[in-house]
């Protein structure tokens, strides 16, 4: 991973954030991400994020669970250890269905949680830069990546006109690193140039 330069715009209201996100995309700037204190309906759409393939993954995990349960139980009750239970056939499908269902749900749920964590790069001791501490509290934070084609001053002016309450430039690590939030101060020690709007 690498350290990149960003201009970070902070908004204190959903109502200013939404048009700002739309105008940013219209202006052609590259939105790195938007950090919000709570989930916002329609923000993914406004940011132009594509649908994740998490549901397809979920379907595949589910089918894995279904086939595992069906094949294993069929093998046990027909080949490995046939048992006569209450005169039922050796392959009693109705009796299998609850177990098949449970295993489907289990595999789909656990698989999707793990995949979700992987996609979001969430794990114990994995740290990422969040650009602004108040993004977890009461601030909507939108960093824009500065490439050689973008002018940082222009972006700052753009943010201010869009109604940002705080605009600053920041160099941040885009990937993750190992550490603990409560014991290291690395993230907060970086030089920040704060311009109050």
């Amino acid at each position: 991973m690498s350290v990149k330069k960003f201009v970070v715009g902070c908004f204190d209201d959903e109502k200013t954030l939404f048009p700002a996100v739309k105008n940013t995309r219209k202006a052609g700037y590259k939105i790195h991400d938007v950090y919000t204190p709570f989930p916002i309906h329609g923000l993914d759409h406004a940011m132009g994020l594509r649908d994740t393939s998490l549901h397809t993954a979920g379907f595949i995990y589910g089918m894995t669970g279904t086939t595992t349960a069906l094949t294993f139980m069929s093998w046990v009750f027909t080949k490995d250890w046939p048992l006569n239970i209450g005169g039922k056939p050796n392959l009693p499908l109705p009796a299998f269905i609850p177990i098949v269902f449970e295993l489907t749900v289990l595999c789909a749920a656990v698989g999707m949680v793990l995949t979700f964590c992987y996609l979001c790069q969430l794990a114990p001791f994995v740290r990422r830069d969040h650009f602004h501490l108040r993004a977890t509290d009461d601030l909507f934070v939108m960093p824009i990546e500065i490439t050689e084609k973008t002018n940082a001053e222009e972006v700052k002016a753009f943010f201010k006109s869009a109604g940002a309450v705080e605009v600053f430039e920041k160099s941040a690590e885009t990937g993750w690193w190992l550490g603990r939030y409560d014991s290291t101060k690395k993230a907060f020690e970086k030089e920040e140039e704060i311009v109050t709007a």
């Binding site: 309906h41 329609g42 649908d51 549901h55 209450g86 005169g87 039922k88 109705p94 009796a95 269905i97 609850p98």
Partner: protein
């Protein structure tokens, strides 16, 4: 931009509803002429005379109960979402309000059919328990619940209460339209009506009424899942009917605040409650299959038969599962298909037919089994279908009438905005 909010019944819809009602009326008259509904049934005589009456009443009961529960369930939808303070259905809430208006006619029709069978018809193959002189020990034990008087009292009370609550709710909703903006007293009153109705509905459709109307057809048999199962069936069909009307109105240019998000959410209801229905169907089947008690398995033997000797309803039994479970599961699972007008319309039609078929196999196999194999015929199915067409025409006709009576948007409801900006 002027809102197109006053529905005018298009000629095509009127023609279709008249045609369907015509088919129903014709079937009914043919039945009265050829099936002799008010004679026969007594004695052990077999033949067309003996079971004609049974078939006539079965077809009428099947259809009147099914369509009444379907239109009632759209009022259940309104009440459930109102009580949960859900705002999203507001953009189309006048549609289920209009559908449930059908109760004002279908309720009395169903009562007339059921009470005429219980009190006037001589036939007793559908409800064995109505013939007090010939009760065996088991039915005697149940006679405190299963007797004509209590049947009448409970049916009339239940249907009367549903209609009363529905009309009260509708009156309140229409009064809200005329009141000033920001008057929330109507809103709080609608919550109270919804709560009271849900209790009534819980004590009738969700428990006692299906035992009485449908489960008592197989009077010796019992299942604790039965009422929920019946409810799930009528409820998912009701949601589908609502979807059909919403898509229809949307296609001819009404309901402009309804967008893909609302269609998606109704689609989710169709999908979810198809699964819910299957869950109840399966729970009922599996427990009976597993414990294998003769007095319980009888119900399924009448339908699917036993290994090596398939019952007369095996095809319907399997078709029922295919179109009510597998088809919605596979077709409605994807997000895109719940937002596709063609697919949801097709699935709504399939689901309504599927649950009509489900009710058919709840009502018909018991009496037909008793009348002998030769009595089971495609002709009875077609007869039931003809009566069903009549009821469908009636539902379309009544819904269109009620839709035309009021604006299509309850514009003063405090949650309207929430529905307009709804986002899934």
């Amino acid at each position: 931009m002027a809102l197109k909010e006053q529905f005018e019944i298009p000629g095509g819809l009127k023609k279709w509803s008249y045609a369907l009602m015509g088919v129903g009326a014709l079937t009914l008259i043919l039945g009265i002429v050829f099936l002799h509904p008010f004679s026969g049934g007594h004695g052990e005589a077999h033949g067309a005379e003996a079971y004609g009456a049974t078939k006539f009443w079965m077809a009428l009961m099947h259809n009147s109960i099914f369509w009444l529960l379907v239109v009632a369930s759209s009022f259940f939808f309104i009440c459930a979402t109102t009580l949960a303070q859900g705002g999203w259905p507001l953009a189309f809430r006048r549609v289920p309000e209009a559908i449930s208006g059908g109760m004002n006619v279908l309720g009395p029709v169903a009562l007339v059919v059921l009470l005429a069978y219980v009190w006037i018809s001589d036939d007793h193959h559908i409800y064995h328990w109505k013939d007090a002189a010939h009760l065996d020990e088991k039915l005697k034990a149940k006679s405190g619940f299963l007797n004509p008087t209590f049947y009448t009292v409970l049916s009339v009370t239940a249907v009367g209460l549903w209609m009363w609550f529905r009309n009260w709710f509708r009156k309140n909703s229409l009064a809200e339209d005329l009141a000033g903006k920001g008057d929330t007293s109507f809103y709080w009153k609608s919550l109270a009506i919804a709560a009271a109705f849900l209790v009534t509905y819980g004590l009738t459709v969700l428990s006692t009424l299906p035992w009485m109307w449908l489960m008592s057809i197989d009077a010796h048999w019992y299942s604790t899942m039965y009422s929920w199962y019946t409810f799930a069936s009528s409820w998912v069909a009701g949601i589908s009917l609502m979807m059909l009307f919403v898509v229809y109105l949307k296609n001819i240019g009404y309901l402009e605040f309804v967008n893909d998000e609302h269609i998606h959410d109704i689609g989710k209801f169709m999908f979810a409650f198809s699964i819910f229905w299957t869950y109840l169907w399966f729970s009922q089947f599996m427990l009976i299959w597993y414990s294998n008690q003769p007095e319980e398995t009888e119900y399924f033997i009448d339908r699917v038969g036993i290994p090596g000797q398939p019952g007369p309803f095996k095809a319907i039994f399997i078709l029922n599962l295919l179109i009510n479970f597998l088809a919605p599961l596979l077709i409605l699972m994807k997000r895109g298909s719940k937002r596709n007008y063609t697919i949801v319309t097709l699935m709504a039609v399939v689901i309504i037919f599927g649950h009509w078929l489900d009710f058919y196999q709840m009502v018909t196999p018991g009496p037909l089994q008793e009348l002998g194999q030769e009595s089971n015929s495609i002709s009875h199915f077609l007869y039931s279908l003809g009566i069903g067409a009549g009821f469908l025409g009636l539902v379309i006709f009544l819904t269109a009438r009620y839709l035309a009576k009021a604006p299509l948007l309850a514009k003063n409801h405090p949650l309207v905005k929430e529905s307009v900006i709804h986002h899934t």
